[in-house]
């Protein structure tokens, strides 16, 4: 057995000491968005589906409730924008699994493209929401 170990090798990984490239940021935020979707967006959509199909009254109450509260409408819009983000970064990953855009430069470009598309989509949604 070799005993020539490097004594100062890191035993634990300090995630904050690693500087991530754009493609890694899109990957880690894809995971974070996935967690958000499972714990927030999915139960929220279930809640919306349940009350919007329950009765005409419940549908109108829900609609008024969301339209009249800037907090609620922002929360609902944000939750579905997170879902949109997960889809955008997910499609990028699926294309890479098909060996499309796998090179370093293409991967960097597509991450920035995904960020831009999502920011434009968010700007569009919030401009519709606030007017």
């Amino acid at each position: 057995m070799s005993t020539n170990h490097n004594k100062i090798r890191p035993v634990y990984i300090n995630l904050f000491q690693i500087r991530l490239p754009a493609s890694a940021i899109s990957s880690i935020t894809h995971r974070l968005a996935g967690i958000y979707i499972f714990f927030i967006t999915l139960p929220l959509s279930l809640y919306l589906l349940y009350f919007s199909t329950k009765s005409y009254n419940d549908f109108m109450v829900l609609k008024d409730y969301i339209n009249n509260s800037i907090f609620l409408s922002t929360f609902v819009a944000f939750s579905f924008l997170v879902f949109a983000y997960h889809i955008l970064t997910g499609v990028r990953h699926l294309l890479q699994d098909l060996h499309i855009g796998e090179s370093l430069s293409a991967s960097r470009l597509s991450s920035y493209l995904v960020f831009c598309v999502w920011f434009l989509l968010s700007a569009f949604v919030f401009s519709r929401l606030l007017t």
């Binding site: 035993v11 634990y12 967690i35 279930l46 919007s52 699926l94």
Partner: protein, 119 residues
């Protein structure tokens, strides 16, 4: 074998959920602003019930693989040890509790979706 199966299940479920989402979102865009009658006509059709039941099952499987991957990547003695040394000893317990928590939540969401749309 099991690893590549999970890999393909994750990708194919993603494609199904993408197609399902495009279908529902295109309905919502065409019927904007949404009215109760057109919405319930849409959600009461047999296509919606079957495809949504499938989407519920598929999204729970997709979420399970994704969250399980996150657990085995980040809730380990190595990564938790970076937060605190004493924490890292309980990594297996923390990961186990986390796995049980999201599994139970996933199964209950799946059950409630089926109860909601089929009633």
């Amino acid at each position: 074998m099991i690893g590549s199966t999970l890999f393909y299940v994750q990708r194919y479920s993603a494609v199904y959920l993408l197609a399902y989402t495009i279908w529902v979102v295109s309905f919502l865009i065409v019927n904007n602003p949404l009215e109760y009658n057109s919405w319930t006509a849409f959600t009461n059709q047999i296509y919606f019930l079957v495809l949504t039941s499938l989407a519920a099952a598929v999204s729970i499987i997709h979420a399970f693989i994704g969250l399980w991957t996150i657990g085995t990547d980040y809730f380990t003695s190595r990564t938790l040890g970076f937060l605190s040394m004493s924490f890292s000893k309980y990594a297996d317990i923390i990961r186990g509790a986390y796995t049980i928590l999201f599994s139970l939540l996933g199964l209950s969401i799946f059950a409630i979706i089926l109860l909601t749309i089929w009633s």
